[in-house]
């Protein structure tokens, strides 16, 4: 793409004096440019940056508790079995059992339940109970030394009787959740359509791969309770789970976040299990217990992104207008419910993509399989369904001979349009802005012309090539392509989630004149500890350095809700701004002078003062959780991505060279941090698209270490240009929406679209591995007799293909085992 001319300029000068931009204008913040003006929109240095950069920041495993014992978990090695007994070999061979403690389900004082949405997941499988997945916790033990722990572990053996496992979500009858969303008359629309196109898309598991493994240290409290220090995103999820499993009071269930080395959703719900395990051991021996996972255990046992099968049947007019979408979503929840109903809900609500369509039916279900439970991961269901929506739309564009850009221009949501839940989009709708910025900054159309001519010169696959003749490309064995994707992402919790949470955030003016922010929102790299002081300082008119932020310790901070759904800046940040305004009014009313000049002496005289700000529903926003009608989200974030790739036509290897990522975040609080979210999220999405694949056999992950589960290195990463757009959200004082999950929704479809632009083939299954690309190109020898390839753009017969044949781009093309195929893959070759 060369050095692109700087085509994106800042269009609107800041309104003099007002911290808020003119709400109507969508303002593009140049990459790396620090907007002028007040603290807001500036990039103060990361508050805990110096401690992290000098190695002094204390992550859980860095904490030292003298006399602590080491904990371990004995896990199931079968996917589905009955736990008949736990045999402990206490034969007297000189092993000192006094240095070991063993905990089983019988030792749980409270309920043997990991409290979340439904009570189906036990803390430990009880003897006589059913093991539901590989690596399920059965027995806990702790020992004074790692050597004693290893020896004890060898002497404890669960006895089990195998039960028949279920691995295929399509045929599993145990349904965790199901939704139907829809409007209009599909049959009429399909009858009058110029084109009907079907397609089935599969996305596999993805591991969050935070570089710091899960870790918890439980320390007994004098009052019989426990203080749990750990790597976590949601202190009050853990607090609630501890209280229930150990029958503790609020005070007795203290949760303290240690510095956390990445979460990405992977530390939203699983930490509750580890905390309970560590607490059970600590209470039994009256000593601290360190439960530190290694990488192998972390990948083998903890949650993954939900795999999904998404089937589209779309009706369109010749000019590209979408007139009907019939979509079916099936997600694999794994063995227990965890957060699956909420992931499925968000996936279903986003399944149509950011496009207006009068007749829509979305049917979604999540089923149980005997595999480790899946859970929260950045995007939370939207990346799965929006990958399918974007590839389906690109295929429709190809079939109608319309460019990917033009078909989006024709169908994108604009102010006043209605979504499938009947929500009228009134505020902060920036689909067009992000789309045009991305096309402009990436020189999309000009590059598409170049790649198209190169492709025709190569006689590339797709149009009328002979079976199995390698691409005749003469010297050029590398094909280049450019791909576009667009997405929307509901800001904050789905439906009435935020109303039910009723989060509280507080600001305290201490007697000594310290201004302290008190929330449960955790820092895990995204910048909470920087933007909260920044927002409060801006609202109070004091310098950034004058505002402190208290550690996330449930003994001191209110429940401001979990650190998830990209809600921290929008919802909790909004509460802090309102609280700061009340604090300022109170002090200025009492002193008659500006807050900045009078708060310190006032505090010494008549402080301290604490303001608790509770969430109030956004005016005019209502959602019916039963009928799934109404405003699913108070506002949506909008994202677009253009990716350029080179595909090696001999090996099928994909190099993602260059990416332009444009994200509407409502209002940019801290440009450097916001860009960091776009860049990091984009690379995570590129990994999801290209190299991150989990394969299973008999319900067990085959690649359960970093040597076999690959994530992008600095050499895999493309040049990423992050462009931030501001379409302020009227419901929040600062106009800010979420940013963390937006880039995750668009990276993968953009890369797969670019692979098609380079090679002419559509990859329907993520990740687009070299094997899948070569199979789709028909370069790998066929493994069984093949029906003739379907005509381009014709109805994709994949929908009818039986599951073991899989739904390949060409039903006859062999691809490696699909993520959702029964793990006991019969090796076809």
């Amino acid at each position: 793409m060369g050095d692109r001319p700087s085509t994106t300029t800042r269009t609107e000068p800041r309104l003099p004096g007002s911290p808020f931009r003119d709400p109507g204008s969508a303002l593009v913040v140049q990459p790396g440019e620090i907007t002028a003006g007040r603290a807001r929109g500036r990039s103060p240095l990361r508050r805990e940056g110096p401690a992290k950069l000098t190695g002094e920041a204390k992550y859980t495993d860095d904490l030292v508790f003298p006399g602590a014992w080491y904990g371990a978990t004995i896990r199931s090695t079968e996917a589905h079995a009955r736990l008949v007994a736990i045999d402990i070999d206490r034969s007297d061979d000189g092993f000192d059992w006094s240095q070991v403690v063993v905990v089983t389900a019988a030792d749980i004082p409270g309920e043997n339940v990991v409290s979340l949405i439904s009570d189906d997941q036990p803390v430990l499988v009880p003897v006589g109970g059913e093991i539901q997945h590989h690596a399920e916790p059965l027995v806990l033990l702790a020992a004074s030394s790692r050597a004693a722990l290893r020896e004890a572990k060898r002497r404890i053996r669960p006895r089990t009787e195998p039960l028949p496992p279920v691995f295929d979500p399509l045929t599993s009858e145990h349904v965790f959740a199901h939704y139907e969303i829809g409007s209009g008359d599909l049959d009429a629309a399909f009858a009058t359509a110029d084109l009907v196109l079907e397609g089935t898309y599969r996305v596999g598991h993805q591991e969050q791969l935070y570089i710091e493994n899960n870790a918890m240290i439980a320390v007994p409290r004098d009052d019989g309770g426990v203080a749990v220090h750990g790597s976590l995103q949601c202190p009050y999820y853990i607090h609630k789970a501890l209280k229930r499993a150990l029958t503790l009071s609020d005070v007795q269930a203290q949760v303290i976040q240690a510095e956390t080395g990445g979460g990405f959703g992977g530390k939203e719900e699983y930490p509750s299990i580890i905390a309970i395990h560590a607490a059970l051991l600590a209470r039994k021996i009256g000593k601290p217990v360190r439960m530190i996972y290694d990488r192998h255990e972390d990948i083998a046992a903890t949650t993954k992104r939900h795999p999904a099968v998404v089937t589209h049947r779309t009706a369109a007019r010749r000019d590209g207008t979408l007139i009907a979408q019939d979509i079916e979503v099936v997600m694999d929840g794994g063995a227990y419910c965890t957060l699956t109903p909420v992931v499925l809900s968000r996936g279903a609500l986003h399944a149509g993509g950011p496009y207006r369509c009068p007749n829509v039916r979305i049917r979604a279900r999540a089923t149980r399989t005997n595999t480790p439970p899946n859970g929260a991961f950045r995007g939370f269901g939207a990346p799965q369904t929006e990958f399918a929506a974007e590839i389906q739309l690109n295929r429709i564009a190809e079939a109608l001979g319309i460019s990917p850009l033009d078909i989006r221009r024709r169908n994108i949501y604009r102010v006043g349009d209605t979504t499938p839940t009947g929500q009228v989009l009134r505020d902060s709708v920036a689909a067009e802005e992000v789309l045009e910025r991305a096309a402009e900054a990436s020189e999309l159309e000009r590059t598409r012309d170049r790649t198209a001519t190169a492709r025709t010169a190569r006689g590339a696959a797709g149009a009328g090539r002979e079976r199995d003749t390698p691409l005749t490309t003469g010297s050029a064995r590398t094909a280049s392509g450019i791909g576009l994707a667009l997405a929307w992402h509901g800001a904050g919790f789905t439906g009435s989630g935020e109303v039910k949470l009723a989060s509280v955030a507080s600001i305290e003016l201490t007697r000594e004149g310290a201004i302290r922010v008190l929330t449960a929102s955790t820092e895990m790299g995204q910048g909470t500890k920087t933007i909260f002081p920044q927002l409060v300082a801006d609202a109070l008119g004091v310098p950034y350095e004058a505002v402190e932020i208290a550690p996330q310790d449930t003994a001191f901070v209110p429940d401001s809700g979990p650190t998830v759904a990209s809600r921290t800046a929008m919802v909790v940040g909004g509460l802090l701004l309102k609280g700061a305004a009340r604090l300022r009014e109170t002090v200025e009313a009492a002193t008659g002078a500006p807050f900045a000049e009078s708060y310190a002496p006032w505090a010494r005289a008549s402080g301290p003062l604490r303001i608790d700000q509770r969430f109030e529903p956004y005016p005019g926003i209502a959602f019916d959780d039963e009928t799934y009608r109404g405003d699913a989200y108070p506002a949506f974030g909008w994202a677009s991505c253009v990716a350029e790739v080179d595909v090696d036509l001999d090996t099928g290897d994909v190099t993602v060279r260059d990416v332009v990522a444009v994200d509407d975040v409502g209002a940019v609080i801290h440009p450097v941090l916001a860009e960091g979210q776009v860049e990091g999220g984009t690379l995570q999405a590129i990994g999801y698209a290209t190299i991150e694949e989990i394969k299973l056999r008999d319900g067990r992950y085959l690649n359960d270490r970093l040597a076999t589960y690959l994530i992008p290195t600095s050499l895999d990463a493309p040049r990423i240009t992050a462009i931030l757009v501001e379409a302020p959200f009227g419901g929040a004082p600062h106009g800010a929406k979420g940013v963390g999950e937006l880039p995750m929704d668009v990276g993968a479809p953009a890369v797969v679209a670019a692979i098609h632009d380079a090679t002419g083939v559509w990859i329907h299954d993520l990740p687009a591995t070299p094997e899948r690309i070569l199979a789709a190109l028909g370069v790998t020898p066929p493994r069984r007799d093949e029906p003739p390839p379907p005509e381009p753009g014709a109805t994709d017969a994949a929908v009818a293909a039986p599951i073991d044949a899989g739904t390949d781009p060409r039903p006859d093309a062999p691809t490696d085992p699909l993520p959702l195929r029964a793990p006991t893959d019969r090796d076809a070759s």
């Binding site: 805990e48 030292v64 290694d294 302290r516 990091g680 600095s714 040049r719």
Partner: protein, 176 residues
Amino acid sequence: MTYRFLVNAEPVEVDVPGMRRLLDVLREDLGLTGTKEGCGEGECGACSVILDGDVVDACLVPVCQVDGRLVRTVEGLAPRPPVATSAAVADGVSGPAPAAADARPLDELQQAFLETGGAQCGICTPGMLMAARAYLDDGGTRDEDAIREAIAGNLCRCTGYTKIVEAIARVARAGA
């Protein structure tokens, strides 16, 4: 066995089994918890330290191989290396220790990471800094491909590497 070597230019002596990982010696015997474990298999680079000028994974180096040599860790980068406390007892239990902005001394590489946003969650940062330091000490230039090669063994899941490369290039430009 007793092993004597230098850590951040300070002589240390430990009496441990020879095959004990340098990573465990640094973290548990010397209380230098700045070096992190991400995988224990030499894949992620979070435990990178500099051994006689070369970047190595401390999880793959038995302490017997370090006898008489010089080890540099993240704690040694700042101009006035903080004293290695034998066992850093957890603070923070006694009431909220608010994280106010602090004026910790930083070297130009750490300062560049701070200004560009090269550190987000920070768990990969110590290892990343050591790989970058070794690259710069060997005369590494601001060429982006060379920088990406130098940190190819250090996995980061938060940043997408863009601002890390920018920070290292900034220091290389300044002719550190």
